[in-house]
């Protein structure tokens, strides 16, 4: 059952720059287990969209199947959403984006949805650099089918029934880097201060923005020995940097004590400011990102933060040279070549 939250508005509720209150970005009441990491990610999405002043109807939510893929019901209730079939969110989003390049596309998936049944579509949507944000709510298991190991479960991680996973994990962030993703970040559902700016930056990126968010499953994979439990993640989480997202019209004010600061200006004029925690890492160099990720793996760490961004990439519409107007807005007059053209074609076939 889904419950609809009452939409009582307090007059004093703050509004964002386009006049919407936070409640305008909320959705139905979540039916996920209490404490599920996915709910925290939904909350971060709501926060990010509210703060970025996105018009809710200019964003489309697309997902596959799983507990994670249910979450689009629980945020942005004024946006159209599409809960498709298992592992196929990328293709639905690709078609939707081809039809209307003017909307923001937010894809939500799970680790089962992405790393197993949907691995092929995940790889190919990266190759095409589709302009979308792709969030994986990664809990290392199949929540909705009751906790089986997923392909992102770490080697040796112990699941609720006490079995050690005998297979190596697919590292989705590493894979995305390898396949040429133009924005790759990793975060943790329990770290709002990092997650929110990363979601904002991902949505401002033109091209494919991938966010691998570790999101513990409290019911099936939060036990001792699991490498995706809250406790384990908190204990093993270094970050690439402290992040701040700076909208286009604002000046960059933040500065951190110590360390070195970098700012990456994104396509739409906004920027993400990074307070780098490691001097040997450069967010616009794919190689250092791959190396850092590999090194973290060897150290048994879960590296989070912005890993890589290529801010000048060409998205799929540019590659296929489609018109600037959304294709779904073209009417018959612009699409149908008419009788005289057809007569010419007929003549050519005689």
């Amino acid at each position: 059952m889904t419950y609809i939250k009452s939409k009582i508005r307090h007059p004093k509720q703050p509004k964002n720059s386009i006049g919407y209150v936070k409640a305008d970005y909320e959705g139905a009441l979540s039916t996920l287990c209490a404490g599920c990491g996915h709910d925290s990610i939904s909350a971060a999405i709501i926060e990010a969209c509210y703060e970025m002043s996105i018009e809710p109807h200019r964003l489309a939510k697309v997902s596959g199947i799983g507990c994670s893929s249910k979450t689009p019901t629980y945020f942005l209730g004024n946006s159209h959403g599409f809960n498709s079939v298992h592992g196929r969110m990328p293709s639905i989003t690709t078609g939707a984006n081809m039809a209307n390049r003017d909307l923001i596309y937010l894809g939500v998936s799970g680790d089962g949805d992405t790393a197993s049944i949907g691995l092929g579509q995940f790889c190919h949507v990266i190759r095409r650099n589709l302009n979308m944000t792709y969030i994986v709510m990664n809990n290392g298991c199949y929540g909705l089918t009751k906790g089986q190991d997923s392909a992102t479960a770490d080697f040796g991680s112990v699941n609720k029934s006490g079995t050690e996973n005998p297979f190596p994990a697919i590292d989705l962030a590493g894979l995305a880097l390898e396949l040429g993703a133009t924005f790759v970040a990793r975060s943790f559902s329990g770290d709002k201060t990092q997650l929110i700016p990363l979601i904002k930056a991902a949505m401002s990126h033109r091209g494919f923005a991938f966010l691998d968010v570790i999101s513990p499953c409290v019911t099936f994979n939060n036990n001792m020995g699991s490498t995706k439990s809250y406790e384990y993640v908190r204990d093993h989480i270094p970050a690439t940097a402290a992040h701040e997202f700076v909208p286009q019209e604002e000046e960059i004010l933040i500065s951190y004590p110590g360390g070195s600061n970098t700012s990456v200006r994104l396509h739409d004029g906004s920027s993400i400011q990074l307070h780098k925690l490691n001097a040997n890492w450069n967010p616009i160099d794919r190689n250092t990102a791959v190396n850092r990720l590999q090194q973290a793996k060897i150290n048994g760490e879960i590296l989070t933060g912005l890993l890589f961004v290529d801010k000048d990439s060409r998205d799929l519409h540019e590659v296929i040279n489609s018109v600037d107007q959304p294709l779904n807005s073209l009417r018959k007059e612009l699409l149908c070549p008419g009788t005289s053209a057809l007569n010419k074609i007929n003549d050519g076939l005689r």
Binding site: G81, S91, L330
Partner: protein, 609 residues
């Protein structure tokens, strides 16, 4: 051997090696017959292979317009020694075997009851051209020249076509014309006696065109305003998208910006292809995909989603020989049931059955209107024979006044004045509800599309009564669908015989030829062509008006018959079958034989079974 000469009625088969350039030479020959005003059909019989295996190209010339495939060959043009044995055997008694006499024929290949016409094709080429590649290419034109001369095809017509073909590469015209003449002159000098078949100019083509079904399908999609095409390569549907791309580049590039008013995506597989099409249609663009064989199986899950979530989409199924990889380069109509009931659960899909390229054009364009109107997938059931072979077809027709039927989609103003919007509310009592597109209105009309059960306001529910209500509304929509899809066509003003024949798709020519020939033997049938599924009452009435009805189809299991019996509640013993599933198009002789076999009491004297 008879010396009476048959005019404009013959079958010619070219036996070639694939990858040697013979296809364009064979087309050149066909085009010449067409330009002489004589109806013909041509079939490519090709292997699933790129180079080196035997291929055949078969032309049936028939001035009465019986253009179905038929067994038996009057003239064999044998250019491939690999298949000589088989090729010699397939010539009709009294027919001709035209071969490359550069090398002597093996004595085993000599039959007493056929004529041999040796043309030293390779030798003529070696004497007149330099490179081995030229020898191979012009050899094809040499046999076209020889055959044309033997059959009295007007050489001037062929010369004209060569000029048109190479208008952009004029250098190639003289060597091609020369090859044509080398062949023709040799044939005339050495075989001066007329053959027992020949062609003669007629005026039976009128305004018709020569086109393959897949090109016509692609044009139908363009005229219907399709902007998104997603696909994965598979024979025989690949050329639908290649033609779509070719014509889009010609007709759909914005003159000012040079940008494309279309998006074609070669997907990673058929699942992704149909997923993209669903995403695009959900978002209000007209989108389609085409596939064959295994692609249909892969698309099954998504077809169920589109049915249940009520998303329009157009799928062109160019059927080929199954099951599994089956006979990928042969034709069949064997996806009827899997398409009609595609996907798990209670599902039904709308099907259209084109018979000619003109149908491919019209039905594809219509499919987009139907899909949008009915908010459901529409599958155009073409096949390899229709899709990949050239057919003489009525010209493609479009009415500039014709508007697209985009169905029930609410715009911003309509939403503005709406109190209670529910995506699955049956406001008009026809089972079809109102859609909204993402991005339409800031606060109204958004809903969540899903393949799970939901209520009238698109909210997830597992409530049994709500689920049943939705299922029943979908049934009501199915009834409404019958009013929109094209009804059957009848070949007689009204039924007058006890026996009926039903066909659909590419069994058209052979069925009509068989019925014609039965009528000449005193057995009369009423004929119905079914054009769409669901079947409307006219289809049912035809069965009720006839004691026995034969259903002609090109699969093993009589799938169409099953569908008819199941959907219309027909008595199985009154519905008989004439089937072919060998991968070649069904022939009139085959239909005739099967019908007569099942009507022993009606067997006319003198008919051999």
């Amino acid at each position: 051997m008879t010396k009476a000469c048959r005019v404009n009625d013959m079958v010619i088969r070219f036996a070639n090696v694939n990858g040697t350039g013979s296809a364009s030479a064979n087309d050149l020959f066909s085009k010449a017959i067409f330009r002489m005003g004589i109806p013909l059909s041509s079939k490519n019989v090709f292997p699933s292979n790129i180079q080196g295996l035997p291929t055949w190209y078969e032309v049936r010339i028939n001035e009465n317009g019986f253009l179905g495939y038929c067994d038996g060959v009057d003239i064999m043009v044998a250019v491939n020694p690999q298949s000589f044995t088989r090729d010699v055997a397939s010539v009709n008694k009294g027919g001709y075997f035209v071969y490359d006499s550069t090398k002597k024929l093996h004595p085993d290949l000599i039959r007493e009851d056929i004529h041999y016409i040796g043309i030293p094709m390779m030798q003529l080429c070696m004497e007149n051209y330099e490179t081995p590649r030229q020898h191979q290419l012009f050899k094809n034109i040499v046999y076209v020249g020889a055959l044309a001369a033997l059959l009295r095809v007007e050489l001037e017509v062929i010369r004209q076509i060569i000029h048109e073909l190479f208008s952009k590469k004029e250098k190639l015209i003289p060597p091609n014309v020369k090859a044509l003449e080398l062949g023709a002159n040799y044939a005339l000098e050495h075989y001066s006696e007329p053959l027992n078949v020949k062609v003669e100019r007629r005026d039976n083509i009128k305004d018709k065109i020569l086109i393959d079904g897949n090109s016509a399908t692609a044009l139908g999609a363009i005229y219907a305003g399709a902007t998104v095409g997603a696909w994965y390569p598979i024979t025989p549907s690949t050329s639908v998208i290649s033609a779509f791309e070719k014509y889009c580049k010609r007709l759909r590039v914005d003159a000012e910006t040079g940008k494309n008013k279309f998006a074609i995506i070669q997907a990673e597989d058929e699942l992704a292809a149909i997923g993209m099409v669903i995403g695009a249609n959900w978002n209000g663009a007209r989108a389609f995909t085409s596939t064959s064989g295994a692609g249909i199986s892969l698309m099954s899950e998504f077809l169920g989603l589109a049915y249940f979530a009520e998303i329009p989409l157009v799928l062109v199924n160019v059927q080929r020989g199954g099951p599994s990889t089956g006979m990928p380069t042969r034709t069949q109509q064997s996806d009827i049931l899997i398409c009609a009931y595609a996907s798990h659960g209670d599902t039904k899909q709308v099907l259209l059955f084109p018979s000619t390229p003109a149908d491919c054009f019209e039905m594809t364009a219509m499919a987009f209107d139907l899909a949008d109107r009915l908010q459901t997938p529409v599958i155009v059931m073409s096949d390899l024979d229709l899709g990949m072979n050239n057919h003489v077809s009525p010209p493609l027709k479009w009415d500039d006044k014709r508007q697209y039927d985009l169905g029930k989609v609410l715009n911003k103003e309509q939403l503005e004045h709406m109190e209670d919007y529910g995506r699955y509310l049956d406001v008009d009592d026809d089972g079809i509800c109102y859609r909204t597109l993402p991005g339409t209105h800031p606060t109204k009309g958004a809903f969540f599309t899903r393949g799970t059960s939901r209520d009238e306001h698109a909210k997830y529910t597992e409530d049994a009564a709500t689920y049943v209500r939705n299922g029943e509304r979908l049934q009501k929509k199915w009834q409404t669908t019958k009013r929109y899809v094209p009804g059957p066509a009848f070949h007689q003003p009204k039924s007058e015989h006890a026996l009926g024949v039903v066909y659909f798709g590419t069994s058209n020519y052979s069925t009509l030829e068989a019925v014609d020939s039965l009528a000449r033997q005193g057995i009369h049938f009423d004929v119905m062509q079914v054009k769409a599924f669901p079947f409307n009452d006219d289809v049912k009435n035809f069965f009720e008006a006839h004691e026995q009805v034969f259903v002609v189809e090109q699969n093993r299991d009589a799938q169409f018959r099953s569908l008819l019996i199941n959907e219309l509640g027909l008595l199985p013993n009154r519905v008989l079958s004439a089937l072919n599933f060998d991968g070649m198009p069904i022939t009139a002789a085959h239909i005739l034989k099967q019908i007569i076999k099942q009507l022993p009491e009606m067997k006319p004297a003198g008919v051999n079974l």
